[in-house]
Amino acid sequence: MNPFQRQLSLVGTLADLPRIANFIAEACAALGLAPAARFDLQLAVEEACCNVIEHAYEGAGGALKVRIETCDEDVVITIQDRGKPFDPTAIPEPDIDAPLDERPIGGLGLYLMQRLMDEVAFTFSPEGGNTLVMTKHEVLASADPPQATEEGRDGSPAAGNDL
């Protein structure tokens, strides 16, 4: 079974977010993901890329790579940049039960990524740059591969993975 893999490289600014969204949407369509899974991946990727552009590159455009691939029944998204590293453990989780007038403005992006994805892991290295790996488990099991062959549909439920 060939794993699915697609990659987008760009010098990203906020204006590129729709392009990144399209890239993810097309990959999700090719994988035949259910709408709920597509929605989660879309939003998590936007939040991650938005953070890279806004915080790691502080608004100036910078090199950004987005990769989406499959690993068994999981979808794995890897986002790489060369901007300023940060310490995710130092970012407090927002109190989403607090009244709005006691909450700060912002600070919901990382939280959403964590809620939408099953695993969210940051690594920072002077050589490799900043890498974020986000994994969503078991989404391919319920996927409906739109381009599956007749045999694929009959034979293996994961036949759409290698499209």
């Binding site: 906020l14 590129d16 969204a21 939408l116």
Partner: protein, 111 residues
Amino acid sequence: MELSTVDLKRCSLVRLGGRVDGSVAPELGSNLRAVTDSGRYKIVVNMADVTYTSSACLRELISAWKVCRRWNRGDLRLAEVPPEIAKVLTLTGLDNQFAIYNSEVEAVGSF
């Protein structure tokens, strides 16, 4: 993103549509500020035609909400929130914070 503003007697009605992602959220922010800067602190945001939102949009809504609520002078209320947008509000605990109305007219009529 599509955005239009109508000033009614008691409130301003902002109709929002399309993708409200990080690339256009600043524009949403400046439109909402234009309303509050004109001294209008009662705002209805009709989300009916919004197809997508991210935290960048929420940031602008929260920010405008705070400006409106200051000194109890107003409020920012939401109307006709589509299910996918409602999901983002729920995930972030904002569904209990914003006053949300099923219809635009109920939201406007609430001021």
